[in-house]
Each structure stands twice: as C-alpha cells, then as structure tokens.
Amino acid sequence: MPPKKPKPVKGRALFRILTSGIYTTLTRALREAVSNAYDAGANNVFITFDPPDFIKMEDPSLLRIQIRDDGQGMSLDDFWDGFASIEITKDPTIKNRVTGRFPIGQFGIGAFALTPFVKEFTIFSKKYQCSPIKCVVHASRLLGQGENDSDLEYSEHVRANIEDQEMPEGAWKTVFGSLDSGTVIVATGLHFATYQELVEGSGYLSEEDIKGFFQNAPFTAGLKEIAWELSTVLPLEYDGNDQGGVYKTNKSYLKSSNKSIRVELSEVELKRQLHSQRNCVPIKFEYDTDGVQARGIIIANETTVRPSLANGVILRLNNVGIGGYTLFDYTGQRTFSSRLTGEIHIVAGLHDSLNAARDRFTGRKFDALRGALLNCLEKAAKEEARGFYEKRTETRDSEFEKSIQQKHAQLTRQRKPNGNQARKVRKSLDVVTIAELHEPSQSQPDLSSTRSSGVSPVVDHWSDPVVDIKDATGEMAVNQRHDLFKVYSGKSEVKVIKIVLRALKLANLRTEAYRKIIDTLIRLRKQEDVE
C-alpha cells in the first residue's frame, strides 16, 4: 500500500492563494510590479493611469494602467523560467552581479500580483539581443472564472491562461518608442471593487490629507493613496527639502546600500519625504546586537506630524519600506507621540525574518530591535516634551516682555497728547502712572528706603496672592479672584490687568507699594464708572 500523502493542490486554488491571498490592494500589486522592475535593473519606472475625469466618466472595463520600465527585459525563456515561475528565489543579502543591487523581491510570486484587480494584462518585453515578446495574461480565467482548466496543476493552469508570442521589432518599437530593452505591462479592464478603490480611495487618508497631497497632479482620491503608499515604500530618492533640514545633516544615517529608483506616477515624480518640521529634534538611532544592525533617524517635531500616516517609524530593508509607519505600541502621551516620525534602515540580520507579503518582520531578533526602537521613541517624546515646555515658557516670557514694551511705548506716546484728544488720553494713562502712587491723600510707599538699605524688595507671598509660578509648565498664572477683577470686567480690561499684575510680580515691590497700586487701580476704575 503506497504511503499516504495530502491530495495535490489544484493549480487554480494555489494561484488564488499566491495572488488574491497576498496582494489585497491595487497599491500592493503596483508596488510589486515596481519591485520586479527594480530587480530587473530598471532606473526609471513610469506608471500611467487614465486622467481623473476619464476614470470617473468611463466604464471600468475601458480603463488602462500602464507600467513601463527600462530594465533588462525578458526573452520568452526568461518569462517562463523566471517571471512566471515560483521556484525562483532571490537572496536579498547577495548583490546581483548584473544589476548591482540587492534584490527586493524574494519569492518570485509578484509576477501575477495584478491578477486580482484587472481582467487582463499584457506584458511586452525586450531583452538585449533577443526577440521582443508579448504575453497576454487572462487574469479572470487564472483566478477561476474558466471551467475547463479547473483540475490542472499549477504550472499547467498558468500555461493554459497565458498567450505568449515573439513579436516583430517594429511592434516593440511602436510600444516602447525605441529598440532598447525594457518591459511594458498594460492592464486593461478593472474589476468594480478596484475601480471604486481607484476613484474614491479606500478611506485611510483623511480628507485633509487628500486635499493637501499632490495638488496639481491628475489624481483621484484613490490615486493619491497609491502615490502616498508608493512614495513611502519604494526605494526612491529623498526629497531633500524637508522643513527641518534633517536629510541634509543626517545623510549618513539615512543612506542605503541599495540604490534608488525613479518612479513617475502619471508624470508626477514620487519622492520620499522625511516629514520633519522646522525646529524639530532629530535623534540618531544605531543598533548592533545579536547580528542585527540598524540605523536611522527619529524626529521629534514641534507639532503633530502631517500627514498623520507618517506618524511613527518606518523600517526599510534593502531601502524598501516594510509596512507603514508605526509607533510599535508606544503608549506615551498622545500630544507628544503624535509628533514623532522617522526612518530606520535594517542593515543586516533580519532579511530572513520577513513575511511573504513583505509588510512586517517576525521573530526574537526583531522583538529585541523593536524594544530598542521603543526606547528611542520614548526618548524622542521626552525630548519633545522638554522642548515644548521650554519653548512655551520662552514664548510666554517673550510675549510678556513684548506687551510691557508695547505698553511703555503707548504710555510714552500718550504723554505727549495734542489738540482736543489731550484730556481724554490723559485719563486712561493715569491708571498706571507712577504719579498716581504719590497722591498726597495716600501714604507714600517707602521706595527710597529699600534702595538705600540694599535689601531686595522681594515679596514672597502676597496677602491676596495674585500670581503663581506653576512648577510643571513654568506658566505664570493670574488668580482671577483678585479684587481688581471685581471692578475691571471688560475683556480687554481683564487682559490689561493680567499684564499689570504680572508686571507687579516681576517688579518685586514691597507689599505697601503693591497695595497702593492696587487700591489706586480700583479707585480710578470706580471713579470712571461714576463719570
């Protein structure tokens, strides 16, 4: 009796697992297509959609997506033995001798990534000194809409649903514009769900982000999502214009051993962004433990990271973003954690810890790195918090100084009134003039004695405390229960009185002088009311 073994997997079922099971969004499929081009040595990839109005107006079956690259292209043998086969494994730790790059595809399953989203796609390709090829991939049939090939094993199933041919050089020149090597993939006819994703987006970008992104680009909401994700994940050049100038000053930490690729999405060149803000605090991260090496920058911004999707850290392996930005369950204060962003390059040690969809790492070594990153995030958040409080105190102090100066300037101006305004102006300025403090009817504060005695006229605690220095924030607060607020109640009056009270606190007057000023202010206000 032969040994028992599992039933053979039907080709159609396996195909579904390898495509629909892994590539759940059109963006991921496009990312895969670019990855293939990258591994084929392409320097440029052009992804072209139809214009937004056309996408919205026309039947989804008419829409066309085109991906063209200037890589080394394929012959028919390359197509069947490499592109369409899943046996091929690329070692991401070994540089390809021809392309000079570490491969970013690994399992050879990305070739059919577009299958779940389109009805059909055609691959045109030309390799140096080989005949150009044209292969029509019947995506709908591959995923099982056909009846005849339901029992075929994987390779037969794939073979039965692809029409291949060598094509004349003129046809290649027509498609590509020259006889150089390269590949053009043209997908036609979108499934309705993909169409909706393309028009409306899948909703993970906020409306604010959608409005702010790629304003002059011919993009629908869905295309903006695609643009965002591709520019985040692909090995693109950094846009060196980050507001905080982090890229310029930290190039060595952001450099990758894998060169970048140029990607245009409907003629809009995608660039990698650092999302730093002016006055941000960049924190360098270096990790070398247990064979895992990583380095990068975590940025603590002054305000919330925009777009919010860039909040957290993105890991890069061979220069390719793995998943999206994440805070690794960092549970610090949201005010500060929302200001963190950054990029970490995995240099070594985690190449075999990646899942098939290539969107996350797993394993003990990664957990250790994750711990180190959490610590760094915490440090960045603290740094940000400290900066925040210092800045706030500085701002408030400077605002205070400014308001005092403004008041002083105002008083100086108002002391020289002219014409009919003279009397009116005089009345209002009297509120804080020193002359008022020396009214004969009131007891005069003994300012001279404090000066001469050399004793600092410090008042530690008022009998009616009006001003406190808060220890946590450094904020100087005014107690609104003070008697002054019983007579000064207008909005602008309250503002002025707060400034006056803060000024008196900083002036360190003696209690007697302080009381004198307060009483004068109350009396003048009451007098004004009577008038």
Partner: protein, 283 residues
C-alpha cells in the same frame, strides 16, 4: 516599421507647418483663445510627433487632448505620451462615433482627422465592398460638425488628411461627375482627363464639405481654406490635406436660412475652384 505608420517625413512636417500650425495660431491670436483652453481631437499615431510639438511650442495642455488610435501597440504609446492627463481611446474613430463614445468629450476647437487611407470621396455611393468603410468616414465628419454645433461652438478648425487614391470604379465616376458640376457652377472649364486621383479628390472634397458644414450652420470662408496634395518619402500613395475654418452663423429670421447658405456655398465654391490647387514639392 512603426505600427500605424511613420510620419517623420519632411513633407508631413511641412504640411503641419503650413496647414495645422496656423489653425492653433489663429485661435490664439485672432480669436483670443488661450492655448491652455484649446481642445483637440486627433489621430496622433504612435510617435505623437505633432502632439509633442503642440505641448512644447504652442503650450497646449495634455489634459485638453483626446487621442484615438485603432492599433493596440500604438494606443499604448499614446497613452504613455499623454501621461495620465489626456484621454486615449483605442478603436476605429468611425466605430467610436457610431457608438457615441466620443460625444461626451465635445466640443473641440481643433479636430484633426489625419486618416492614413482613403476617405469619403464617394460619400453617397453604397456599392462595392469598401463602400461602407468610406461611408463611415464621411459620417464621422458629419458627426463632428453636428456635435460641435450642438455645443454652439463659434469657431473650430477641421484638419483633414486622406489618401489621394480611390479604389473602385464608381468612385472615379462620382469624382468626374462632381468636376463637371463644379465647371458648370463656377463657369470655368477645367479638364480632368490628365489629373491624378489626388488632384480629383483635392478639387471635389471642399465642395462636399461646405455643403455639410452649412447644413450645421457653419460657414467656411474661402480665404481661410487651404489644401495641399503631397507624397511622403517612402510612402506608396499620395495624400491630400485640407484645413477648414468653420464659423457658426446663427440666423433667427425665417426664410433667411436658405438664402445665406446658398450664397455662402456659391462664394466658397467659386473662390476655391477658380484657383489652381496647391501641390507640395520640396526641392
């Protein structure tokens, strides 16, 4: 060989310069239409030679272009050249018009029907195996006029290029009959016995077109009409290219309609037919 044909010849370049460029220049300079607002329907071919010139030198935005191409490979090249901004429709333009697939993109300020084969020289002839094909091209032109009229577009240019050959006997008869009619109308005696097909077509087509344009209330001024017959290097047969400026005339008073149309038709035919049609010869 590029699928759909190569059009980088000096003759074609000269035709673009003499007939097509003035259409855009006049829209900008005479009718104060900014280049960024000009809408353009065309059959650009895979290399998009003229489109690239328009983008670079005239400032036409890609978003204003609707390009039609029947061959898949050439349509892919055009789709790439338009970069996700302009519309590319794959299929025969005649079929797309029949299915009303292009109606939604109208109006167009310049309609450039650069056919590479014979066109509508036998517009009312229904015999022969090719009759239907030619009839459809004529209907394409009718539809262009009708759609622009439905949008009350004041001025537009119809740029037309067709092969200067006819492939059936009834076609020749038709053309000769039209020449006789033109001789009678204009009162001059042109002898077509030594003419090539290209010359016959060049003489007859404007008359057919003015009739159709007037039916849609578009007048074609004889001063703003031009045509050339030419043969491109390496091509088998000669071509004839025309440029018509169609200007909308809306008459509201009853009875005026027929009067001005017959007068406009007579003036146009008399003027163009009395001149010797041009032939492009590059030394």
């Amino acid at each position: 060989m590029i699928i759909g044909g190569e059009y980088a010849s000096p003759e074609k370049a000269e035709i673009r310069k003499r007939l097509w460029d003035p259409a855009f220049q006049e829209l900008v300079n005479k009718y104060n239409k900014p280049a960024t607002d000009i809408r353009y329907l065309c059959l650009p071919g895979a290399q998009c030679i003229y489109l690239k010139h328009l983008f670079q030198d005239i400032g036409l935005p890609k978003r204003n272009v609707v390009a039609v191409e029947q061959y898949e490979e050439a349509a892919i090249a055009i789709h790439h050249a338009l970069g996700g901004r302009g519309v590319t429709r794959q299929g025969k333009i005649e079929e797309l018009f029949e299915k009303r697939s292009l109606d939604k993109y109208f109006p167009f300020d310049v309609v450039d029907l650069d056919f590479c084969g014979p066109a509508f020289v036998f517009p009312r002839v229904r015999q022969g195996k090719d009759a239907k094909e030619y009839q459809r091209r004529w209907q394409t032109i009718e539809r262009v006029l009708e759609l622009n009229r439905s949008h009350r577009l004041k001025v537009f240019y119809l740029l037309l290029s067709i092969a200067g050959v006819r492939t059936n006997a009834p076609g020749k008869k038709f053309l000769l009959r039209e020449i006789k009619s033109l001789n009678d109308t204009v009162g001059i005696e042109k002898n077509p016995s030594t003419w090539t097909d290209a010359r016959l077509i060049q003489e007859v087509v404007p008359k057919l077109l003015i009739n159709e344009a007037l039916r849609q209330d578009y007048e074609i001024s004889p001063n703003d009409f031009d045509s050339y017959r030419y043969k491109q290097q390496g091509h088998q047969y000669p071509m004839v290219a025309f440029s018509f400026r169609c200007e909308l005339v809306e008459k509201t008073e009853l009875g005026q309609d027929l009067e001005w149309k017959s007068e406009a038709q007579a003036v146009f035919v008399r003027t163009y037919y009395s001149k010797e049609p041009k032939e492009l010869r590059l030394s």
